[in-house]
């Protein structure tokens, strides 16, 4: 049986006959070409794809931001219409959060977590591929709304009867990234087709189903990562020896699995309102739009920590490396991360201070919000303690990580200002809030993620990014960012409202809006330069050794790029900062001979995660078109459900498969992947 032959150890998978799954189908096992990327279950390749998609959508969201800033550069501007402006800021926020930051964090989770805990893959490799393709499906669904919007503007649909019967024609989402009801919902009685009158066009339906699909992707990935971190640690890798990035991945994943159900239910309820005439948020039938706000922010506030905790984990790896010191106060940093995650569930109503919650809840949420500054402050002091007295090397990742601390603190300070409910009542819906959360999300999260990209890129591709360009890009990003968002503090306190497509001259806002626009373009150039440098490095960069930074954690003990099996032999960990201790301390990493004659078990590739993800794509495109009234389109939704079911069913039936790979002995070929060794035989 072919299945058994794959359990005789080989030096390279290319030595094997094509493997048959339990269904009798030949499994994909090409090691090169597009089919390999579409069917891979290798966490490193999946991580690279997450990163590539995320960087692409960062640029898309960035272009949307630049269009917004161009519109606001001068008073009474008409660069875009008010309608287009609504779509731009909605898609900018949604894209940056769900298609930029979260997948870029997921790229790091994927690439690093198994390496940092001494594992050969995640617990469920095919589920991991499913998360990636479902994310891609959701991203495509959300952005396909722009295609419909373009078709609408170009007049493609003019002859269709369904198009003529549309009341609202905003095809891209236009409700803001929070889609507050009742604006996103319905009002009045449903008609015979179960459609109640709505306030917005089908853009909202694209948003609902797109976020729902992205939620599936995030949930599946989070189950996988918690399972991996808890269950697949190498011997000796106790929880309190885990690298801080892995710890923050664990906390973030826990937040995702507990916070996303709230938005899932809220989206289901909103979908029932819009598609089937239900009354969850329909004010004329007794529905309470405020419930949407509660459900959204019960998800939405933990989401803020879902965005920032991975960046905090990255910075906690970079600062010790370039300070030449161990992380100051490791246990309290881990504990603070967990406390931030826990408190993150208890502060959602500070987004709703102006809705009239009553004195007691407002006071309670204000206090809890202030309390969350404590563990955050603890982390910042510990990072300062880490670099204090260290031999600091100002490499590009270190510069960006130091920028993170500085900028994130600025965002934190204005955050503490918001936590005071009376002050918040003045700042609500003003540019001050924009300034605050961009300092946290851009000055904090983006700088942290960029630091991580420049830190781990040599590990991922074995090539060193150009340092000169990196310094220039970092400088432009930090300069442009402060020019763009610093003035918004002033603009907000001077009364400029959010989400308003233009403003009149004479309010004293002209100068700083113009400065902010210039800053935004400098920022855009900086981010583009930083990303272009990375893309160039991936293909043409100068090759570097496996440990160019004198790294501390396990991934630096491996070759660059990392071999497909990660660890030729499983490490046995003796200390926190295991590899640094191994190099410079007394406690060496031992290796178990589990990769010897028997070989190590490698999972087989599969088409099924892609098929299931494609089913989600069909559902995601079908549902909004159903809402448009396109005839017979319900069949697309049913076909999508069928494809998804068949994908998952065959996935279960094909079996995990797998083959045994002989790995070289530790130390014999430190920088050559196994198959290169094999070809010399």
């Amino acid at each position: 049986m072919s299945h058994d032959s794959h359990h005789a150890p080989v030096a390279s998978k290319l030595d094997l006959a094509p493997e048959r799954s339990d269904l009798g189908l030949i499994r994909p096992d090409r090691k090169t070409g597009w089919a390999d990327w579409l069917t891979t279950v290798d966490h490193k390749k999946i991580g690279i794809m997450y990163g590539a998609f995320a960087m692409f959508f960062f640029l898309v969201g960035g272009l949307e931001a630049l269009a917004i800033r161009t519109q606001l550069a001068r008073p009474d501007n008409d660069f875009v219409t008010a309608r287009m402006y609504n779509q731009l800021f909605t898609m900018h926020g949604t894209t940056m959060i769900f298609l930029g930051v979260m997948p870029l964090s997921a790229a790091f989770f994927n690439f690093l977590v198994p390496l940092q805990i001494g594992a050969r893959d995640v617990a469920f490799p095919r589920l991991n591929a499913f998360s990636l393709w479902t994310f891609v499906a959701g991203a495509f669904v959300l952005n396909s709304s722009w295609l419909f919007e373009f078709g609408h503007l170009a007049g493609w649909f003019n002859n269709f009867s369904w198009y003529k019967s549309l009341v609202y024609t905003d095809f891209a989402p236009a409700n803001g990234w929070f889609s507050y009801a009742p604006l996103s919902g319905t009002v009045g009685q449903a008609d015979a087709a179960l459609h109640a009158p709505r306030f917005t066009g089908v853009g909202t339906d694209f948003w609902i189903i797109g976020i729902q699909i992205l939620g599936v992707a995030s949930l599946a990935a989070s189950f996988n990562f918690i399972c991996t971190i808890i269950n697949m640690r190498a011997k000796g890798m106790t929880m309190m020896r885990l690298p801080v990035f892995t710890w923050m991945t664990l906390v973030t994943s826990a937040l995702i699995i507990l916070a996303f159900p709230a938005i899932t239910v809220a989206l289901i309820e909103l979908m029932f309102d819009r598609q089937f005439g239900a009354n969850f948020f329909n004010p004329s039938a007794g529905g309470q739009p405020i419930l949407w706000q509660h459900l959204f922010w019960i998800f939405g506030h933990p989401e803020v920590y879902i965005l920032v905790l991975p960046a905090m984990g990255i910075v906690s790896e970079i600062l010790p490396t370039f300070s030449g010191k161990a992380l100051f106060g490791y246990p309290i940093i881990v504990f603070s991360g967990a406390v931030i995650g826990f408190l993150g569930f208890a502060v959602w109503s500070h987004h709703m201070f102006t809705t009239g919650l009553g004195a007691v809840p407002t006071a309670a949420f204000a206090l809890l919000t202030m309390a969350i500054a404590v563990p955050t402050g603890v982390k910042i002091f510990n990072w300062l303690g880490t670099i204090w007295g260290g031999k600091i090397r100002f490499t590009p990742p270190m510069v960006l990580a130091l920028g993170f601390i500085w900028m994130f603190m600025c965002g934190g300070f204005s955050g503490v200002m918001h936590s005071s409910a009376p002050a918040d009542a003045q700042q609500q819906d003003s540019y001050f809030v924009i300034a605050h959360f961009h300092y946290v999300l851009l000055g904090g999260v983006l700088l942290g993620l960029m630091a991580g990209l420049y830190f781990w890129f040599p590990k991922i591709f074995g090539r060193m990014p150009n340092a000169g360009v990196a310094y220039l890009a970092s400088g432009l990003v930090i300069l442009g960012f402060n020019l763009a968002f610093g003035p918004m503090h002033y603009l907000g306190l001077a009364g400029q409202p959010r989400r308003t497509h233009t403003y009149h001259a004479g309010n004293g806002w002209e100068t700083w809006n113009f400065v902010a626009t210039i800053g935004a373009f400098i920022l855009g150039i900086g981010v583009f330069l930083a990303f272009a440098n990375l893309v160039w490095t991936a293909f043409k960069g100068k090759k570097c050794g496996s440990d160019p930074w004198d790294g501390r954690t396990l991934e630096w003990s491996l070759s660059s790029p990392v071999a497909e099996y990660n660890f030729a032999q499983s490490p046995v960990i003796a200390a926190r900062d295991a590899y640094f201790e191994d190099k410079h301390g007394g406690r060496r990493i031992a290796y178990e001979n589990d990769g010897g004659e028997a070989g190590v078990h490698m999972p087989s590739q599969s088409w099924m995660p892609l098929v299931a993800g494609f089913g989600f794509l069909m559902i995601g495109l079908g549902m909004p078109m159903l809402s448009m009234g396109v005839p017979h389109i319900g069949w697309l939704v049913i076909a999508g459900l069928t494809v998804m079911f068949i994908g998952i069913w065959l996935w279960a039936l094909e079996g995990p498969g797998g083959y045994m790979l002989k790995t070289p002995a530790v130390g014999s070929t430190p920088s050559a992947p196994a198959h290169q060794t094999a070809t010399t035989h």
Binding site: L258, I268, A278, N279
Partner: protein, 221 residues
């Protein structure tokens, strides 16, 4: 019977199998999911204690709508299906594949009875004038219990697939027992959620002569 291939994986750090752990994580997430749905229902029930208005404009009370005898019966059936599921898991651990098949058929049968009762109930309520469109109660009731019904239907589909898979001879050994146990965890969870829904949505309407929400009708019609 072909040999069941079990690649030698390293034992997990905690000793808990990956599949079991991930199912517990999913169930934790599903707790929040149902928690949110049940909260929505209870919030609106407290806000609008008097029930709903049907198509003819008559005020309707929930006690007069519900058929508590039927729902109690279907709840009992679902509870008993959990008992059979436990027997099926136990049989699988002992390698008694025939006993597993018998018990899992029982679970499927009981699950279908439960779903049948729900279909009957939905049809009955619809004819009584409760729709998803005409009231907040209709929206929360149908979406909450319907979502639970969807969970039951997925569980039944899963068990049917496992039942037929057992005839291929590939469902066996430790891996097979684990697969059945994980399906069992899901089934028990869906059952427990129903106990909560049955209490929070149905039984509280009968607490005291005018119902928990204070303005129901007396039990005598």
């Amino acid at each position: 019977m072909s040999q069941v291939s079990e690649p030698a994986h390293a034992p997990t750090s905690t000793g808990i199998e990956h599949k079991k752990l991930i199912m517990w994580l999913f169930l934790a997430s599903d707790c929040m999911f149902f928690g949110t749905l049940i909260s929505t229902h209870l919030l609106y029930r407290k806000l609008y204690p008097t029930g709903f208005t049907d198509a003819e404009g008559h005020q309707r009370f929930i006690q007069n709508l519900f058929n508590i005898e039927l729902t109690s019966f279907s709840t009992f059936i679902l509870l008993m299906s959990s008992f059979l599921m436990a027997l099926a898991v136990s049989a699988m651990h002992k390698g008694q594949i025939k006993s597993f098949r018998r018990n899992v058929l029982g679970v499927i049968f009981f699950g279908l009875i439960f779903l049948g009762c729900q279909v009957f109930e939905f049809t009955h309520f619809f004819h009584q004038g409760l729709t998803i469109q005409n009231s907040v109660f209709g929206s929360t009731f149908y979406v909450l219990t319907g979502t639970h019904g969807t969970h039951v239907a997925i569980g039944i589909l899963w068990l049917i697939l496992l039942y037929f898979y057992s005839f291929t001879g590939k469902l066996g050994g430790h891996v097979g027992a684990l697969d059945v146990e994980v399906a069992g965890l899901y089934w028990h969870f869906v059952d427990i959620v129903w106990i909560i829904i049955f209490t929070a949505v149905y039984l509280v309407e009968y607490l005291g002569p005018s119902g928990f929400w204070g303005t129901g009708l007396p039990l005598t019609k």
